[in-house]
Subunit: 374 residues, 2 copies
């Protein structure tokens, strides 16, 4: 069931029904502009990760500012973007299963479609599907540069798989997928940089070995909001896959710069608006947004501009707030903005973005790829 | 966006696209029958909690077996049930905000609607909304019997609020909501029983004090899958609000009976089907179901009938499996059933139930109240 839209353009923020997913449009647009400005002098271009925003609307705003296209994690996300007019889509992930690959190939008339592989038998399956669909699919080799999840080893193993792809009549070798996910939230900049330097080294050596076998990499992709400045400066990466930068979250806000201060490249633009629904006793208030409305996999949300109010517990539909002894308690019915611990899965809980500017609702945008995990 | 249905009736289980939410229909129906049989000799009737299943289809199956109606947590859930023909719905929770209350009152022509309150000012608002909608709403007083979330104190505070409701022309006093949520997962039966005995005591005293003020309680509701036998035997509770019993989950499976063995009243009928999408190196496999497909707020999922395979990490779209040294690794493309840590929010990630029996898909049921957090 589609959620009832929680607002309409022109409403005041206090009138928005809750829980609702708010974008502070001024901050959001500044984040988009800042990323474009940071990448302009480098050899890398943005292929923003739609796993964060799940919306063709935002994809187009990013491409207007120079992004070459979008990444997704899943076929269902690729469908939502292709149907929404995004012309260049990379599934930055393996796609296993005939039915899923057929759905992906069916998008080829709408957009340039690329997908990753880390297994020779899967390359054969992708080839069969592309042949049956009378198309050619671009396949990247995923290498494990330190995240320890999917991907073949950098070096000879990657070269062997790339040669297998390049030899396939219905496939094109698309390059390397080299994302170091687990490095994105290493707090200290020196340690984060060391992890990414290692990933860059693995990637550079693999690119060179591929070249020795006559294979050029059209795409060398990876990086996230926590690390992209390193990859962009490397000269090796051609595409940056940052996603969270447009919204930010409480987890990314804990990353530190080289002076030990919080990184301030981007600012918080995404919020879950919640209502105080019970004040059962002194020191406690309950809001109507639990972990069905705000993801808690990377920590509990913060209460925006109320550092004295702590969100201390999330159940499905309730958030428990602890109020210190000298805190003026929020009124029953009062609305509070929550800063999500993790933006991507929080977005996945909602059907609608409510864009606000100057205290007024300016727009509603559908989150078309919400729930697109297949 | 509605998710693409992952299956069609007649398919074999191996053909189902993943991630998919499976119901083992034989086990599920046995759970429904068992609850009906357990409550039949008591004074309590089932008002099953739809926060678990979020589906009018399942609500009707429960009511055919004697349930008086359904509970929900949110107005959006009440809407989905009322629109799906459920005739008696209790919002077992406070509803704060004019727009939400107006939506609730708009359902009164379709179903008997009840709601909870724990604040006098909110009772006044509910009365205004009921008057404007030319209807009467049934309002229960929520008392905090130990959960420490919402609710007034048992005893005089509850009596005062009940009298305020009973004196309202457009409201009817509906009784008491007395749910001890945090007791449901106390593992040892003696400790769980002690917590519920205390809740029953608070409730009994409040019912008696209300009677002294001339107020009878049409409903005394509460209890969950972990505790309902105690409340049902109390003679005080008239309605049992268990939800999870129809599906069960890994968290409930940890509760123990009085012999110290796992409680075996109900059995696991809900699964997330996942596909092995990468086998990057020895000892590791990755499935395509992360915490966007299976909720991890109450612990990671288990791999059904493969105790030797551990689901050790969930990211948004990936589940990492650890395989012991002597484990035969699952094949790329192999499907595995996961037992969710927590059934309610897992259901909320899916648009479709896939009912299976004897290895075949028998039915698809829409999860109409999915995402219904408003």
């Amino acid at each position: 069931m589609l959620q009832t839209p929680p607002a309409a353009p022109g409403m005041r923020e206090e009138e928005i029904d809750t829980p609702a997913l708010l974008i502070d449009l001024d901050v959001f647009e500044a984040n988009l502009d800042r990323m474009a400005a940071l990448l302009a002098p480098t050899k890398a271009r943005l292929r923003a990760h739609a796993k964060t925003h799940k919306s063709p609307v935002i994809a187009h705003l990013q491409m207007r500012r120079g992004a070459v296209g979008q990444c997704v994690q899943k076929v269902a996300e690729a469908e939502a973007l292709a149907w929404g007019g995004v012309p260049d889509i990379l599934v930055s992930n393996e796609v296993v299963g005939l039915r899923k690959l057929e759905r992906l190939a069916a998008l080829a008339p709408l957009a340039e479609i690329s997908v990753c592989a880390d297994d020779e038998s899967e390359v054969a399956t992708i080839e069969d599907v592309a042949a049956a669909a009378r198309t050619r699919l671009r396949v990247l080799v995923e290498i494990d540069v330190g995240a320890g999840r999917c991907g073949v080893s950098p070096g000879p193993e990657a070269v062997a798989l790339a040669r297998r792809i390049a030899a396939s009549r219905h496939l094109r070798f698309g390059g390397l997928q080299a994302y170091h996910g687990s490095a994105q939230h290493i707090r200290r900049e020196s340690e984060r940089k060391a992890a990414i330097d290692s990933a860059i080294g693995h990637t550079r050596r693999t690119v060179e070995q591929l070249r020795q076998h006559g294979l050029e990499c059209p795409i060398v992709g990876g990086a996230g909001t926590g690390s992209f400045l390193f990859e962009a400066a490397s000269g090796v990466f051609t595409e940056i896959q940052a996603g969270s930068y447009c919204f930010m979250d409480a987890d990314y806000a804990k990353n530190l710069d080289d002076s030990g201060a919080p990184v301030s490249t981007f600012h918080q633009s995404l919020f879950v608006l919640a209502t105080v629904m019970s004040r059962p006793r002194a020191g406690v208030a309950v809001v109507d947004a639990g972990h069905k409305a705000v993801a808690v996999d990377s920590g509990l949300p913060l209460v925006w501009r109320h550092p004295e109010i702590l969100y201390v517990g999330a159940s499905d539909e309730h958030g428990k707030l602890a109020l210190g002894a000298r805190v003026v308690p929020p009124a029953l019915g009062q609305k509070l903005r929550l800063v999500p611990g993790h933006c991507d899965p929080t977005v996945d809980r909602h059907d609608w973005y409510v864009g606000v500017r100057g205290g007024r609702v300016e727009c509603l945008w559908p989150i078309s790829a919400r729930g697109g995990f297949s």
